[in-house]
């Protein structure tokens, strides 16, 4: 694949005119997917998919395109050369774009992480025997993911990684569920079976009768998986400099009115673990770490080079969409084993569901509780709760209502696959709140 990418890039760069510049990105995967439902296979199959994206800059105009590659060199080279011609003709018709950033000469990088994954035809045989009699619903995804980028100024980056994940829910007869993900790059049958067994133990906690809470404000603990969902909202009208400049960001109050969050809340974009590439689609390389919010103060947003050009601010080489690629929230000092005692009487939320802004500029987010969520009294779990709608502002739950942050962090892998399997995940601790608004 890497040689194929280089060959296609060379053919395109050779075809460029002197006044033109070109950035090329590749994304691809060789993936096996198996859906399970109730210890049975619902669907199984595999996908080989590679696409190449081009960004042509010519005469202060920009045109972009992407196309599926076949992996056959002559065919793909001819196709992308034809596409370059089409882009050239189209660019001539477009308005001048004053904020174009031509690709700059930069770094090169290479990362190729091999793993030990089950062969596609062996997946079911490894997964299903351990699930006999277990009511489970979930998705297995495994294989190699590719990302690459090169530009006509000489930058070149290659990233390939083998990985697998079984993202699953276990269900008890009362339809209470626990959620877990077993993920990695080296398959280990014993570890997998241990993951299932541990989830079954958690599921047993849900056997107690359910408790129906009334709407109101509750002391609440949100476990790392739920916190990860909350932080995910910051990629959508959130910590984007462009969203800030166009009035669409939920963080306007922090920028314009010097509103701060709790000193216990710090969030950074941190690539040091190497889970995702640091380069973006223009081959620009992000700093290894960007402190976005430090001790409750907004330090900077994610700034793409295009936004930097438009608004005269400094770029930190964010992706053009200015979304979080490798978020890490700082830990606190509440030991995980002390969470229930510190909560005292209140709500323990393992997972959240279907989040959306209910008032973006008020920082208000709504969503549901989901999976293993409990009512706790005097530090002891009383029983699972019926799912509740919540609606609260991050200016509260990461602000004055934030009582403690756990000392332990958890990586919540991104198992999404819209348009292709995602890389990386969100690393964050749990949070203890002295108030959280449950509304329905």
């Amino acid at each position: 694949m890497e040689q194929h990418f280089d060959a296609v890039c060379a053919a395109l760069f050779d075809a460029l005119k002197e006044s033109e510049s070109l950035s090329i990105s590749l994304g691809g995967e060789t993936s096996q997917f198996t859906r399970v439902n109730g210890d049975k296979v619902r669907q199984t199959g595999a996908v080989d998919d590679i696409s190449l994206s081009l960004e042509l800059v010519a005469d202060s105009r920009r045109a972009t395109s992407s196309a599926t590659l076949t992996g056959e060199r002559e065919q793909d080279t001819a196709m992308v050369q034809q596409e370059l011609e089409r882009l050239r003709a189209e660019a001539a018709l477009l308005p001048v774009d004053p904020y174009i950033v031509a690709p700059a000469a930069g770094e090169t990088s290479h990362s190729d992480q091999s793993g030990d994954l089950p062969a596609a035809a062996n997946v079911v045989g490894k997964l299903l025997p351990a699930l006999e009699g277990v009511d489970i619903s979930g998705i297995w995804a495994s294989g190699r993911i590719y990302r690459a980028n090169a530009n006509s100024a000489g930058s070149r980056h290659w990233f390939a990684s083998d990985s697998f994940s079984l993202d699953y829910s276990l269900v008890n007869p009362d339809e209470k569920m626990v959620k877990a993900t077993y993920a990695g790059s080296e398959w280990n049958q014993a570890d997998y079976e241990q993951s299932i067994a541990a989830s079954q133990q958690k599921l047993a906690l849900l056997d107690k009768p359910s408790i129906q809470l009334k709407p109101g404000n509750y002391r609440t603990y949100i476990a790392p998986a739920g916190v990860s969902d909350l932080l995910g909202m910051f990629s959508w009208n959130g910590l984007s400099e462009s969203a800030m400049q166009t009035g669409e960001s939920a963080f306007l109050k922090m920028r314009n009115e010097a509103v701060t969050l709790s000193p216990m809340f710090s969030l950074s974009e941190d690539f040091s673990a190497g889970r995702v590439p640091r380069f973006n689609d223009k081959a620009e390389v992000s700093p290894e770490r960007i402190d976005l919010i430090a001790q409750g103060e907004l330090k900077t947003c994610l700034v793409s080079s295009r936004t930097a050009s438009e608004y005269g601010v400094e770029s930190n080489n964010a992706a053009e969409g200015e979304y979080l690629r490798s978020p890490v929230m700082a830990t606190g000092d509440l030991e995980e084993q002390d969470v229930l005692a510190a909560l005292g009487t209140g709500v323990y939320l393992s997972n959240l569901h279907y989040l959306n802004w209910s008032d973006t500029h008020g920082g208000r987010i709504t969503g549901m509780t989901r999976y293993a969520c409990f009512w706790v009294e005097q530090g002891e779990i009383v029983g699972p709760i019926e799912n509740m709608r919540w609606d609260d502002s991050f200016y509260h739950f990461f602000g004055e209502h934030l009582e403690a942050v756990t000392a332990q962090s958890q990586l919540n892998p991104d198992v999404g696959s819209y348009g292709g399997r995602e890389l990386g995940g969100t690393e964050c601790p749990g949070i203890l709140l002295n108030s959280f608004a449950l509304t329905l």
Binding site: N37, D48, S51, A120, S169, N356, S358
Partner: protein, 477 residues
């Protein structure tokens, strides 16, 4: 692409083989604040080779469509099917992929060549300029997306289908700001204006009128009061009914959800298999159809991706649940009557149950009669926020724009309108359904579901509707 010839060259000991080839080109043009943001063309094409062996389907999807690659894909799919067969959730036969032949072409007057890239950018630039009705408009956006999607399906039991779709989405949006107050307004919610249509959709006079109205209403919202927080009658415009139908009727009635396939992701449903044919879902005024025959609606088609013939059917009649939204596989697994909605987002995803065109049929009330019947209410337009629980019951939705209804008249504009409710109660509170004059057709290209994840196009059409005693509220004070 000669799929029949490719199919004939496959040699595997399978009980059935199908080839589904999709070639889709999406052109996106976006202008913000007078400058181009995106001029992008994405061409996505490939083939899914699906086999049935020992009662289990399996697939191998690839962008390589030469005979040797397709043979290799069929062999890999066969190996996966045989490995999975001992654990099959249901033992299928080729009756799940009925033999079908036919063609579909979506309706249009002007094809993509009617406007070149420069023409479309000029159209979008003009929209942006008109959106900026005041210095208080801090951001003006205009978008056009054109999708040409060609689908081909052949199978070893005799299917031969080709379907061709030309889809155009246009949208404009203005952000207005006055000090700390920021409001956003769009034409019917971003991307709701999505239809199977040609470039005649990009009518200049409509764009002029809509852009000015959107800009003016964004500014109007800045000085509006917050939506009140109380319980009152709620009248929803068709561009919000779209979302209401989608989330609280469409998804809970997908049979694969009820069967538990989606429990780990999109969720389950408050509807049970034995509810079909008897559950009172809503008031007598509620009539919901699955209708793939509506011209220009976004998810019209003749066949689903398993080859089932698509036909209009009542899902809910006079408030009573009749059938589910499930293709043949789900119908065979559940024994529940369904529809032809076994659909995939592209060549690289396997079909699952997806609502397509799901519509609320018009009633008999005029708009004036609906408004006149309300003593204390609020009228909301255009979705901006949506969230619902995994059983599709407890929902909370927000809109861009609202006006109070007081003593039978529309009165002042209010901002940040939201409402919440429970699906199984909400639809029973439907007390007024607008007539055909209030009926509007919309679509969304962004319905997410499935593992691996899929985003698919759906259409929703509805008249203006009135619900009684709904909890409404405004924004953060």
């Amino acid at each position: 692409m000669d799929l029949t010839r490719l199919l004939g060259q496959i040699d595997v000991p399978a009980d059935w083989v199908g080839l589904r080839y999709v070639d889709e080109t999406t052109t996106t043009r976006w202008v913000r604040d007078g400058h181009p943001q995106a001029n992008d063309r994405c061409r996505d094409r490939g083939i899914m080779v699906e086999v049935l062996a020992d009662g289990q389907f399996a697939y191998q999807a690839s962008s390589r469509v030469d005979a040797a690659s397709v043979q290799d894909a069929a062999e890999k799919a066969l190996a996966m099917a045989k490995a999975a067969a001992p654990y099959a959730i249901h033992s299928f036969t080729d009756s799940a992929r009925p033999a079908a032949t036919g063609s579909y072409q979506s309706p249009f007057e002007q094809n993509e060549s009617a406007m070149n890239a420069g023409d479309i950018n000029d159209w979008l630039l003009k929209s942006c300029e008109l959106l900026k009705v005041s210095d208080k408009i801090v951001s003006a956006n205009a978008l056009a997306r054109i999708v040409q999607s060609d689908h081909y399906f052949v199978s070893s039991n005799g299917s031969h289908i080709d379907q061709h779709f030309l889809i155009v989405t246009t949208g404009s949006m203005a952000v207005a700001q006055d000090g700390p107050v920021v409001q956003t307004r769009s034409d019917s919610g971003m991307r709701a204006r999505s239809w199977q249509i040609g470039l005649e959709s990009m009518d200049e006079q409509r764009m002029i009128d809509d852009s000015i109205r959107v800009g003016e209403q964004a500014v109007e919202l800045l000085s509006a009061e917050e939506c009140p927080t109380d319980t009152r009658d709620l009248m929803l415009a068709p561009d919000q009914m779209m979302l209401q139908i989608h989330e609280s009727v469409g998804h809970p009635l997908e049979i694969d959800r009820i069967l538990g396939d989606e429990r780990n992701y999109a969720g389950w449903s408050f509807v049970r298999l034995d509810d079909f044919g008897k559950l009172r879902y809503g008031s007598d005024l509620m009539n919901i159809t699955f209708d793939p025959t509506v011209p220009h609606e976004m998810a019209s088609y003749d066949f689903d991706d398993g080859g089932a013939k698509a036909e209009r059917a009542f899902i809910i009649k006079d408030g009573i649940l009749q059938r589910g939204l499930g293709g043949i596989e789900s119908q065979q697994r559940s024994g529940v009557p369904g529809v032809a909605d076994f659909r995939a987002s592209s060549w690289n995803r396997a079909p699952i149950d997806r609502m397509a065109n799901l519509n609320l049929e018009p009633g008999e009330s005029t708009l004036d009669e609906l408004i006149g019947s309300v003593e204390k209410g609020v009228y909301m337009e255009a979705n901006r926020s949506w969230s619902i629980d995994d059983y599709r019951n407890k929902f909370q939705f927000g809109c861009e724009y609202a006006r109070l209804i007081e003593n039978g008249k529309l009165t002042k504009t209010v901002r940040n309108p939201n409402y919440r409710g429970i699906s199984s109660h909400f639809w029973k509170s439907l007390k007024g359904v607008g007539n055909a004059d209030t009926f509007e057709v919309y679509g969304t290209p962004n319905c997410g579901k499935g593992e691996p994840n899929q985003v698919i196009r759906v259409g929703h059409a509805s008249p203006t509707c009135l619900f009684e005693n709904v909890e409404v509220f405004g924004g953060e004070q």
